[in-house]
């Protein structure tokens, strides 16, 4: 039973109670992914599994046998940041930074959802093949990621740089 984390194979825990979040932070030493509430309410623990954003705090690690996980550590490094990480810096997308890894992983998953046409609560024509994009769409789609510092405007600005349609 193994799981791939940022391209590296890791053993799954023998105790099925271990969450994916605790596996990442405590057993693999990847402390970029944060524990905010541990109950699915804040989004700080968001990671990508096979490209889809999920909450690692509500995920039992054993359920993800054979799957491929990407955390903030797998997206970019200090020397070579991901364009979205650079955009967060350029647009003041954070203050304390606690929610930031979750925000960035969540935004990566969100961009993919928009590309394949997943509707959101604010999509006016739910039958549309292509989602007309707006800042309201970004806000709604990112509502599962709370930021106690209130850096939301900067977060939306940073994400919008990767979605030129949303810039206006």
């Amino acid at each position: 039973m193994t799981i791939s984390v940022n391209g590296v194979e890791a053993m799954l825990p023998s105790d099925p109670r271990v969450s994916l979040l605790d596996l990442l932070r405590e057993q693999l030493g990847l402390s970029g992914t944060k524990k905010g509430c541990d109950q699915g309410a804040c989004g700080a623990c968001t990671v990508l599994v096979d490209g889809e954003r999920i909450l690692s705090c509500l995920a039992l690690a054993v359920q993800y046998d054979g799957r491929s996980v990407t955390t903030i550590e797998g997206l970019g490094t200090a020397e070579c940041p991901h364009p979205l990480q650079s955009a967060f810096i350029a647009h003041d997308g954070f203050q304390c930074g606690y929610c930031t890894p979750g925000q960035i992983c969540s935004a990566m998953g969100m961009i993919e959802e928009v590309r394949r046409g997943t509707p959101s609560h604010v999509t006016s024509d739910i039958t549309a093949e292509v989602i007309p994009f707006s800042r309201d769409e970004v806000r709604e789609r990112m509502s599962g990621n709370l930021c106690r510092c209130g850096a939301h405007n900067g977060i939306v600005d940073a994400i919008a740089t990767l979605l030129p349609e949303a810039a206006e």
């Binding site: 105790d15 099925p16 109670r17 969450s19 541990d38 109950q39 699915g40 989004g43 968001t46 889809e52 954003r53 999920i54 909450l55 509500l58 995920a59 039992l60 054993v62 359920q63 046998d65 969540s106 998953g109 969100m110 959802e113 394949r116 046409g117 997943t118 509707p119 959101s120 609560h121 999509t123 739910i126 039958t127 806000r139 709604e140 789609r141 509502s143 599962g144 990621n145």
Partner: protein
């Protein structure tokens, strides 16, 4: 969390064989069950992971749609056939939880998610008949703004939190069930129970019974359907009140109508009374208001939630008005 063993079901037969054991529970995305296990409110000995079972969405010969119970909430909401033929269902799903949770959550798990009553969650500090039958209900005289106005009992006044189920109740969805010795289906409106004096028994499922799929009937009516959710903030909050409805108007009169309410009862609430009152009536605001009034005649407010009665009435009128506007 108390210790448990974990097994991944390879097929339906394997799942029901394992799920039949005492204190075994099926595991979907875990977004509700794992949380409740961490609070030791749920204490299964065995988890049977059913996320590897069918997540196919297939067309039926009769024009309906069969949806495997392991389908993620996101996959269901974004499916073309659902968006174009059952828009209320897509809208209800994307009105619920967050994108991350919808990616994890399965259809089966969404159906059987448990109430968000804060006293139910407070294992250490509150009395709750749902957790411990006979212990009393702290919500009855406590903070009950989010609680039920319809179908409640002196034992329990909690509400079923699912948005998706409200749309499914309106759409006449059927739930496919499997147990070692039986295969059956149940209308979604008959899946959940009202609390009565056993609020701990939430559904009409037999112990160990597995949800394998839900089926949507072919319905031209559903094409003109929608879902509206009223909540305390614009996103990522449970419903105070929600309405799923479909309406067909012919020559100014209501030819067919389906309505279900969320956030008001221990189960998704099909508004049969309002539907019967509307049939054949002029598709006007006055008829919509009278029908809503008829449905809510049975509503009983608690200390903090009287506002829900008026909110449900207005939301029903607004949603029917929106659909009637589209129909002309």
């Amino acid at each position: 969390m108390i210790p448990f063993t974990y097994a991944r079901a390879t097929d339906v037969a394997d799942a029901v064989r394992r799920g039949g054991a005492e204190a075994a529970r099926y595991l979907g995305g875990g977004t509700n069950l794992v949380d409740l296990m961490r609070e030791t409110i749920e204490r299964p000995d065995i988890l049977v992971d059913v996320t590897g079972l069918s997540h196919a969405i297939t067309e039926r010969d009769d024009g309906g749609l069969l949806i495997g119970a392991a389908t993620s909430n996101t996959a269901l909401a974004e499916h073309r056939a659902v968006r174009t033929r059952y828009p209320a269902l897509s809208r209800a799903i994307v009105a619920g939880a967050s994108a991350q949770i919808r990616n994890m959550a399965t259809v089966g798990g969404n159906l059987l998610q448990r109430t968000r009553c804060a006293y139910f969650y407070d294992e250490a500090g509150a009395h709750c008949n749902k957790r411990h039958p006979g212990d009393g209900c702290d919500a009855m005289d406590g903070f009950n703004r989010m609680h039920a106005i319809l179908g409640a009992s002196p034992s329990c006044v909690s509400v079923h939190p699912s948005d998706m189920c409200v749309a499914l109740a309106m759409l006449d969805a059927q739930v496919h069930l499997e147990a070692p010795a039986s295969t059956r289906r149940l209308p979604l409106t008959e899946l959940h129970r009202l609390p009565g004096d056993r609020p701990d028994v939430e559904t009409h499922l037999a112990p160990g019974e597995l949800i394998t799929a839900i089926e949507l009937p072919a319905a031209s009516l559903a094409v003109r359907s929608t879902y509206r959710k009223v909540r305390d903030r614009a996103s990522y909050a449970f419903a105070l009140v929600s309405v799923a409805a479909a309406l067909e108007v012919e020559e100014g009169r209501v030819k067919e109508v389906r309505i279900a309410l969320g956030g008001v009862a221990h189960k998704p609430w099909r508004a049969w009374t309002a539907e019967a009152a509307l049939l054949g009536q002029p598709a006007t605001e006055a008829s919509f208001a009278a029908a809503a009034q008829a449905e809510l005649a049975a509503a009983r407010p608690l200390k903090d939630n009287g506002f829900k009665i008026e909110l449900a009435r207005r939301t029903m009128v607004a949603v029917l008005g929106e659909l009637a506007g589209e129909a002309v």
